[in-house]
């Protein structure tokens, strides 16, 4: 069996994205390296999801260059993503995970044991037999994390994973994300919840209008923002 290739670092060099003559991302230069989570913050439409999709290799840049550990392409084997409203397959909770394991190429014989491990990891062991679509929003988000972990990812992209959750479920998801990051998985997360960024981020990237306004280690970003946009964003002003 071929040894999995590394994806890190993921380097964005002057990346731009156009969609139907509209510039949605401009001159993005960003280095995603192993270590603490990188959190993308910014208002709606600032390009956070586009950056995640580019990092996943799901979207090709219109300009600039992206490399995964020096390669211009990724097969995505060790990249996983959880969206804001993950779609649950019309199967049981358990079958959703075994499906993801199958898609990740895990041998048939190992899938059940691995699925049990993953469900335990996200606290859904007792929901294994339930139809996934009947889980609560928070449970669905945790199941989506379990499915993402089925790929044994080196990089996990999270697109506002708690945007529609209450505080209790947000806390549960954040604890899982923290544990995932602590296990060595590089977490790249988009959020416009500043409090969440404070709690989880190792590095912060502020996007406004499709451009990076500021990127810095989290303590530095929150203690002394270098740009007026970052300062305004932290004050809670409307940044457009």
């Amino acid at each position: 069996m071929r040894a999995p290739t590394s994806e890190l670092p993921i380097l964005f060099e002057d990346v731009g994205v156009d969609a139907k003559d509209v510039r949605i991302l401009s001159e993005v230069t960003l280095a995603l390296r192993a270590g603490a989570p990188t959190v993308l913050i910014g208002p709606n439409g600032s390009g956070k999801t586009t950056v995640l999709r580019l990092a996943m290799g799901l979207l090709a840049p219109s300009g600039g260059r992206i490399t995964w550990c020096g390669r211009d392409r990724t097969d995505g084997r060790r990249l996983a993503m959880v969206s804001q409203r993950p779609v649950m397959l019309r199967r049981s909770t358990f079958a959703n995970v075994t499906y993801a394991l199958g898609a990740a190429g895990v041998a048939w014989a190992r899938r059940n044991d691995r699925a049990e491990e993953l469900l335990a990891r996200v606290g859904l062991s007792n929901q294994a037999a339930r139809p996934a679509r009947r889980l609560s929003g928070g449970e669905q988000q945790r199941l989506a994390l379990a499915r993402a972990l089925a790929r044994d990812p080196e990089v996990l992209c999270l697109d506002e994973p708690t945007a529609s959750l209450d505080p209790a479920n947000t806390k549960a998801v954040e604890e899982i994300v923290t544990a995932i990051a602590a296990s060595g998985v590089k977490v790249l997360m988009a959020t416009h919840d500043l409090g969440q960024a404070r709690r989880l981020a190792g590095n912060v990237v502020l996007l406004v209008g499709g451009r990076i306004c500021e990127q810095a280690p989290a303590p530095q970003f929150f203690s002394s923002p270098a740009t007026p946009e970052a300062a305004a964003f932290m004050r809670g002003d409307l940044v457009i």
Partner: protein, 230 residues
């Protein structure tokens, strides 16, 4: 309606002629639906998921073929299977096999068109998730067919209903041979023209009952599926 009691007596009394016709009709229509599903389900899913030149034209033609005139299909199959036709060497004209093929051709566009619509709708929902999971094209088709299975029951049911209720195709390629290729619908047409309304009505009762039972079963399957799979 002086014939009614006799028709009911035939049905309730287990008349051998009547039930032989019912058995053959069921066998032909179920086999035709299964054959059509074998082609129509993956074809519909493929067209739903894969972009290719002329796709809109294919979709329009497929939708139009849902309303194919049965006699035209019967005629085409007759010409193919007749002794001088390209498939005449098979020697299956005026047999149940020919009837199955003809009905399958009639039903396949219905199953394919309804499958395409169902799978296309589900794909809109699943696209980002399956793309992020790097699920390949073939596995996508299988996944979507499986996850839409309870909705696709409706497509199969529509196909079966069309097969069970049609007369023209099986009349042309089956020949309505007594005890061999006579189905419920061809028998009803024949017995009515002969004035034997009892058998015709008896078969009509069975045909309607059958359609109700199949619909009820499909509804039940769908309901159980929704409860179990969400």
């Amino acid at each position: 309606m002086a014939q009614d009691p006799t028709a009911l007596a035939l049905v309730l009394g287990g008349d051998a002629t009547l039930y032989a016709i019912v058995q053959l009709s069921l066998m032909v229509s179920l086999a035709a639906t299964a054959l059509a599903a074998l082609v129509g389900l993956p074809l519909g899913a493929y067209i739903a998921l894969v972009q290719f030149p002329g796709r809109p034209f294919v979709i329009v033609v497929m939708n139009a073929f849902m309303g194919l005139p049965p006699v035209v299909v019967g005629l085409a199959v007759y010409l193919l299977l007749s002794r001088s036709g390209p498939l005449g060497f098979l020697g299956i004209l005026f047999t149940p096999r020919a009837m199955i093929i003809a009905q399958a051709l009639l039903v396949m566009p219905i199953i394919a068109a309804l499958t395409r619509q169902t799978i296309e709708d589900l794909w809109v929902e699943y696209r980002d998730e399956l793309t992020a999971m790097r699920v390949g094209p073939f596995a996508r088709i299988l996944t979507l067919i499986w996850d839409a299975r309870f909705s696709l029951v409706t497509a199969l049911l529509a196909g079966f209903g069309r097969a069970a209720a049609e007369v023209g195709t099986v009349m042309i390629v089956g020949g309505n041979i007594d005890g061999f290729t006579r189905t419920m619908t061809t028998a009803i047409a024949l017995e009515t023209s002969k004035g034997d309304l009892a058998l015709a009505m008896g078969l009509g009762i069975v045909l309607i009952a059958l359609i109700i039972v199949v619909n009820a079963a499909a509804w039940g399957i769908r309901r159980v599926g929704e409860l179990r799979a969400g």
